[in-house]
Amino acid sequence: MRNKKILIIVSGIVLLVSIGFYMLPWFSGKVWIDPPETLVTIPEALETPDGAKKPKICGEKAHIWSGKSEIDGVEIRESLRCEPDNPWGVASFVKGTNNVSMMTLMKTRLASDAVIKKNDRDGDGDPDYIHITLEVSELNGSSPDGEKYLPTYDIAPGVRPGIWAFTPKTRGMAAINLFSYEAIRDLRPPSPAIRVEQGDTVIITLENTHYLPHTIHLHGVDHPYITRDGEGNDGVPITDEHPVLPGDSKSYALKPRQTGTMFYHCHVQTDKHLMMGLQGMFIVEENRPNNWVQTLNVGAGFVRHPSVAISESYDHEYDLHYQGIDKELNSIIQTVNDPRLIAQKMNREYDMTESTMDYFLLNGRSFPYTLKESIIVVKPDDTVKLRIANGQDEVVSLHTHGHKATITHYDGVEAPDGARITRDVYSLSSAQRLDLSLSATDDGLHSYGPGVWLFHNHAEKGISTDGRNPGGDISMIVYQSFLQENGFPKLQGVDINRFLDPRFYQGTLPIWEQSKAPQLLGQAGSVTPELLKVIIAGLILGLLIGLILWLFMLLSGSGKEANS
């Protein structure tokens, strides 16, 4: 009798659950006739409470640093973009922080021993002893004082992955001031492009200011395996040296005999440390008389003081450094503070073979911030030298709209005339470099004429930020006639300011809302559940609870019977 009751109750419960499953609206509802209206959301980031538009991606006027100038006798080229490099910083890198005036140095955040230049050994009017000091900086790292990342560095609006970079030796605070966590300009990815002259005696001192061991490996740059005093010089812990511990320093020495676009990176736990951002370009320029090269190009990009040889053959020069970020790897430094736990999570729990890239950077930023710094500005008939490095874990298939450029060098080695290929997709495997000659001659081959022409990685994920497009490494070749006074391209497409809303890259803003027909392709509204169904569902729920209680009573009653 009792078992029969239990059986009936259990079948009742099963029946009710199945009916309830169909009756409850759960999280989505089917609409048979009249789909819901379009919801129009106004991006909050663009509107202040009084309805005024917030500042756009660039200021109204040209940046005070963008003009052509001469600082301490160093000619600094005009930089037509809305965030140009600090001209005093450029002058300090060209002359050496030991040779510029103190007033110049004070307009930078560089330490007085960041770049030492002296000894014109061959008497050709430029220094031949170059001593560069690099520190290791962590950006967007965790804090034991709460849920904040510091010092902050935004690769795109609201996107702050943890990043490491070799940085020039600076002085003072890592933040721009006491009231901000924002990192100073010199602390940023990619690690600065290093430029030296062929035959220079170059000393690179790594001062490990970071909490994990690191080294510097000079990839493709002519350097001895060990120095004269028997010290390891290749930066590889499993062959020539112990990694540089936190608080220690080590100097690497070289006298490069060959020119070209090379690379440098940390070789400790390389799969992780390189991907965390400890990688930069290393460029050896031809030895020419009176050739003061810009030893560091912070954040890569436009070279404001190109070498003698480059100035002879090209109108302008750019360093383009592509990087990828796996947020699973880069967020490790944001989740814990103890370096032992970071080492454990990064080197034993994180599996590089399962990595997938989420963010794609050109010169340390993703679209739309690439447009502030990393546009290529040309005039008709200009010839521009592009030095490109791929620091990603995947192939970069760089595509230039409106232009077919010619590959002149592979991995820093000049290609013979017959092997110079002119094309519009340039493939770079991991760690490879290409030198391109980009001509703005409107002949239907090299250029299709003035305009604002995109250049981007055509491996499609490269143009997304955490899967949202437009993002990633998208940037533009902008003809000067298409440039506004403030250094931002004249665009006639959709409002770029939309992509300044952090919600866009979180995936909560619809893509075409600000198109000309927002009601057609905006956010589809949701449906409210039918009242009758909800009442029936509630009734079922009540019955279910009742039945379950009854079941329990029966079962416990059986216990009592058994006891008595």
Partner: protein
């Protein structure tokens, strides 16, 4: 203009003869970063820099220097060895001084990288523009500088402002008078606000403790049952 010339000469001397510049006590006045309108007293050479040294000027509220104190402060990785999970530290984490003290800090860097002794929250009119006193060493070595605190009891943050150095242990506090509380996450001294989580390993004592406590619990319930039955 003459001030600028003087400054340039002093600092170019400082670059050629760093030891000489270290001896130069005169306040060198330059605009900081070219951004701030307020003049910062700033000495810089190849060994590092001192910002806002103040040996004489009394803060409002102080009639005289209450006491002259001097501390030697070491900075380096080796001082973090006693704090598990930290990488850089000072040799001490706390100092106490009287209100209106004149404090001379000999800052010693035992590492081969840059470190700082930076203190915030001092009177802005004496330590412009943000109330900061700062000694920085570009590498191993030492620098000595002096500052005067005001009469109000306050706890000052002392830290190294290189990226992540404070977060990795180079943090301390200086209490003037009674101070006004403790700062969080001073190594070995105060709690962090965002603790890390570590794996839990059960030792014999914990396992035995759990078993005994469980048995006691069962015994208690059974005895209650027996007592109730007896009453019936």
């Amino acid at each position: 203009m003459s001030r600028f010339v003087k400054f340039s000469i002093l600092l170019s001397l400082g670059i050629v003869f760093p030891s000489l510049a270290q001896e130069l006590d005169s306040a060198i006045v330059v605009p900081y970063e070219g951004e701030s309108k307020v003049k910062v007293r700033h000495q810089m050479d190849m060994q590092g820099m001192i910002m806002n040294e103040n040996k004489e000027t009394l803060p409002d509220g102080c009639r005289e220097i209450s006491e002259d104190v001097s501390f030697t402060v070491h900075a380096g990785r080796k001082y973090a060895e006693k704090f598990n999970g930290k990488m850089f530290a000072y040799d001490q984490q706390e100092w106490a001084v009287k209100p209106c003290s004149r404090i001379t800090i000999k800052f010693v860097n035992d590492d081969h990288i840059r470190h700082q002794f930076m203190i915030h929250g001092l009177p802005e009119y004496l330590y412009p523009p943000t109330g900061m006193f700062h000694i920085e060493l570009t590498g191993p070595g030492s620098k000595t500088a002096t500052f005067i605190v005001s009469d109000e009891p306050k706890t000052f943050l002392v830290h190294c402002e290189l990226a992540q150095h404070m977060e990795y242990g180079m943090k301390a506090q200086m209490k003037v008078g009674e101070g006004d509380g403790d700062l969080p996450s001073v190594p070995g001294l105060t709690k962090v606000e965002r603790p890390d989580q570590y794996s839990v390993e059960w030792d014999i004592a914990s396992i035995v403790g759990l078993l005994i406590a469980t048995l006691v619990g069962i015994f208690m319930i059974v005895s209650i049952g027996v007592v109730c039955k007896k009453r019936e």
